[in-house]
């Protein structure tokens, strides 16, 4: 009872742990508790899906599908002792991989980034705080586009390791559990992913130099 009393103020929701927010949501369908959970994690979950899929509409669908599963499975499969976000990430990861395997093809990222509409749609979602002026914005945009492009070229299993590590700072033990491989395999995938990215950056640099000489 005292715990609930402490939850009444809006400020206190921010101070609560994920576990407590989940409890409030499950026992009282507490809207503020769920919104706080969403505020904390939705960007990372969405960014992971988006970076894996590279298609805004599909990313939206998978994001919604993930939360539909989260809501329907929470009473059956989520153990309140475990990390809620790790559990949600497992669902998001599985939904994303399922989609990729169903499609059985990789989306041509070049064509997607070539479209002006998609480009603006993509950058509308980025925070403005990091971009100070137009020049910086352009350089930043180019770098991000290039990075996303190279990441999308990575094999799916390497891409998921890189993104799980980047967005969640997930320990390799957890990445290994989530992707059902050994820690050494997960570490190996990360290593190959970085080697491949380095190769792609190098190829891009060579191409730029070639264009500059012309």
């Amino acid at each position: 009872m005292e715990l609930l009393k402490r939850h009444t103020g809006k400020k206190s929701y921010k101070e609560l742990k994920d576990q407590d927010l989940v409890k409030l949501f499950r026992r009282k369908a507490d809207e503020s508790a769920f919104n706080e959970l969403m505020n904390r994690h939705q960007s990372k979950i969405y960014s992971y899906i988006y970076s894996m899929i590279n298609n805004p509409e599909t990313a939206n669908d998978i994001f919604q599908e993930t939360f539909t599963k989260v809501i329907t499975k929470m009473d059956d499969t989520y153990n309140e002792q475990g990390k809620w976000i790790a559990w949600v990430m497992r669902i998001a990861h599985n939904a994303t991989i399922d989609h990729i395997r169903k499609q059985k093809r990789y989306i041509d990222v070049n064509s997607w980034y070539g479209e002006e509409d998609s480009k603006s749609d993509y950058f509308d979602r980025l925070g403005d705080s990091s971009i100070v002026d137009a020049d910086e914005k352009m350089v930043d945009t180019e770098m991000r586009t290039s990075l996303m492009n190279h990441i999308s070229k990575l094999p799916e299993e390497q891409r998921s390791v890189v993104l799980l590590r980047h967005y969640y700072e997930m320990p390799f033990k957890e990445i290994a559990e989530l992707t059902n491989v050994s820690i050494n395999t997960a570490l190996g995938r990360m290593r190959y992913a970085l080697i491949n990215l380095r190769k792609h950056f190098e190829e891009e640099r060579q191409l730029e130099l070639k264009h500059a000489r012309k």
């Binding site: 369908a29 970076s51 919604q64 990075l147 996303m148 990441i151």
Partner: protein
């Protein structure tokens, strides 16, 4: 994949123990190729920092939130209904039990049944067990005679009756007798 090859990743991702880190740094100082590989991987990994963090469209986020709340409220309502039904069932069972117990109590309390039960009590608890003491007085306790003991009791009564003697006084106490005692002494 060799475990030693993964050491560079473990080092970069800070997944090594401090002692392992020191050991690996010593190895890098001795092996130039290893140092180049680690630095090259570090540079590439640093570029990953530019990966953008994106928010889902606001509309999507609101929809997810609304549907989550609605689904959870529905679930809670369903649970409440189950609880209500369960409580009702328990209450109904309790009332039924009470009615049956009360019925049984009143059924046992009717005169005919009471009489029957009292007879049972008399036959079981107040069984007469007569006996004859050393003065041939018949004695018994209890309030009624068991039918099986009728004959033996009658014979005891008859025998005791035949031993009765008449008394001289009305009080039934015999006067003290006067007797002369004859002796052979000269006094």
């Amino acid at each position: 994949m060799l475990e030693s090859e993964n050491c560079s990743i473990r080092y970069l991702m800070r997944e090594m123990d401090p002692s392992e880190e020191i050991e690996f740094e010593r190895e890098m100082m001795e092996d130039e190729n290893l140092l180049i590989e680690v630095e090259s991987l570090r540079k590439t990994y640093q570029k990953m920092g530019k990966l953008p963090l994106m928010d889902p469209p606001e509309e999507l986020s609101n929809n997810v939130s609304k549907s989550a709340i609605a689904a959870q409220q529905k679930e809670l309502r369903k649970n409440k209904q189950w609880m209500f039904l369960l409580t009702k069932s328990v209450a109904a069972a309790a009332i039924l039990l009470m009615v049956v117990s009360t019925g049984l109590y009143f059924y046992n309390g009717t005169p005919a049944v009471q009489e029957a039960s009292q007879t049972n009590i008399a036959t079981e608890a107040n069984v007469v067990e007569p006996w004859v003491d050393r003065n041939n007085v018949i004695m018994f306790v209890g309030t009624s005679v068991q039918p099986n003991n009728d004959q033996s009791l009658q014979s005891d009564v008859d025998e005791s009756f035949s031993k009765l003697t008449l008394v001289n006084s009305e009080t039934g106490i015999a006067p003290s007798s006067r007797k002369i005692v004859l002796t052979s002494s000269s006094n």
